[in-house]
Subunit: 311 residues, 2 copies
């Protein structure tokens, strides 16, 4: 068996993903549990970690690194934000240690939390990310390009010529979709569980052309249903398209001009939606190779001197 | 006692408001119940009406008019939409009758439903209203001006030179505020029940300047809380301001140029918020006199020949 060198945790709001990495960051084993920080009761993070990979801790005397919301105010310990522009070496020099009790008379171990990033615009308004910075550092995007990480809170992050994350924007696209469909009036006309690329594309076009009236544009997902222009089965994709179109139009308008394709990072199905929306907006994009989070965690650990990158 | 001439119902999603009107549309008595169309079980609208004002029906042999969601697909009977541009006389000529059973061996009565309006933009996308058209007809706004009706689904409606409603836009401002604060992550940092005009104004400015990135701008209601820039007690107003600022910027951008002040129609507290937001956007506005809905209902009934407007 290839000897493990690092336990890497991607610990977010909903899920904990653990990877056992060998030389060069090769993934030897992966595990996941629905023990994200919002589901762990009474901050029993030590217990949640042991439940998922206590055996790894006992069997492998390797360092531990974690990125994501586990370093937030609601997480295990708050890892202070790094202010943008921020580089991977800066993050690696600012890890926050947390003591892990292996709970079997072994000595305590140290879990190293990767700091999240903060950027501040001309009006003094902040934006924040936790976890996405590590995915970006694992995504091999070109300096001077832009990375897009679709999700509950989508992130658009711009890299400067030195490969630092110079600034970024959060769009609440996924959360708005969930709120509007689960609790709002738009969901009442919808039939879920179907896919409709034509309706998705129509929604994207509407979002792109009406992003300056975003909170008006969304109401079309009701009238299109009322008037029978979009079938109940197509309405979820129509709304999804509008929200993504609104995001894409707003982000491209805020974006420094670049001819470089965007780098999409994340879940395949969601990235396919963004690829299509970006095409409709005339913006080229390419998909980062899978495993960006663990590659980023490995690189942070190497830069921090926790592991050697030798073969 | 002044003899009653009309029973006028404002029957919306959440509430039923009934007014007994005398000569000139003077309001003799008002009643309300939380029996909006979404709360009436099994479409028992006849019973809901009798519960609120069965005595009026028995005692006064006067016509009945209703505006609002009661004429929707989910209402008592669907009153087909009038296509914009639409005038009050056109609406009065297109009332939909519903038989009301007074339930005490009296003969059936007729309730006249005011049609909602539909408008269609250059892309074939529709917008709809039900009830607001009647408020507009009672608001005495100048021909060529714009009426703003804040609410769960705010409406901006433009009058042409003949006083017809030429087109309108719906903004989901109130629903988004409710969804984001009740079910979303933004609500988690908030303390409700306070008012903060400075935070509201800061939110409006942010919404006005970032309406092209609306779904990004909202995230500032999280970071401002995380970073301590806005106190938990001020965050609800900061978010409210942003949503209203996004609406105002989008609507003004879509608005035909006019030097006429906007006419604000509706609830006093909410209209005060819009007055402030419009001031910050450099747009003059004035408040319609209270009672626009019943004035509109009276005028529709007069135009339909149901009542005489004599003293």
């Amino acid at each position: 068996m290839i000897p493990p060198r690092l336990i890497a945790l991607d610990w977010g709001t909903s899920n904990l993903r653990a990877s056992l990495l060998g030389a060069g960051g090769a993934c030897l084993e992966e595990r996941a549990a629905a023990t994200g920080i919002m589901t762990v009761v009474d901050r029993q993070f030590n217990a949640a970690l042991l439940t998922l990979c206590g055996d790894w801790l006992r069997e492998h005397a390797v360092p531990l690194v974690a990125s994501g919301m586990i370093g937030s105010q609601q997480g295990w310990v708050e890892a202070p934000y790094l202010q943008c522009a921020a580089s991977l070496p800066q993050a690696a020099a600012a890890l926050t240690p947390v003591a892990v009790d292996p709970d079997d008379s072994q000595p305590a171990r140290t879990l190293h939390l990767v700091p999240g990033l903060r950027c501040t615009d001309a009006d003094g308004v902040h934006d924040v990310m936790r976890g996405e910075e590590t995915q970006i550092w694992g995504a091999d995007a070109a300096p001077g390009s832009c990375c897009v990480l679709p999700g509950t809170h989508s992130k658009w992050a711009w890299l400067d010529g030195a490969g630092r994350i110079s600034h970024f924007l959060t769009f609440m696209t996924g959360e708005l979709y969930a709120l509007l469909t689960t609790h709002g009036i738009l969901g009442r006309l919808m039939a879920f569980g179907h896919e409709s690329e034509p309706d998705f594309s129509a929604g994207v076009r509407r979002g792109l052309s009406h992003s300056a009236q975003a909170t008006h544009a969304l109401f079309a997902a009701r009238t299109a249903g009322l008037m029978g222009q979009v079938a109940p089965e197509g309405l979820p994709d129509y709304l999804s398209g509008m929200l993504i179109g609104i995001e894409v139009a707003g982000a491209l308008q805020a974006m420094p001009a670049t001819s470089k394709p965007l780098t999409l990072i994340g879940d395949g199905a969601l990235c396919r939606r963004y690829t299509l929306a970006l095409q409709l907006a005339g913006q080229a994009s390419e998909l980062a190779a899978a495993g960006a989070a663990t590659r980023g965690q490995w690189r942070v650990a190497v830069a921090a001197g926790l592991v050697m990158d030798s073969p």
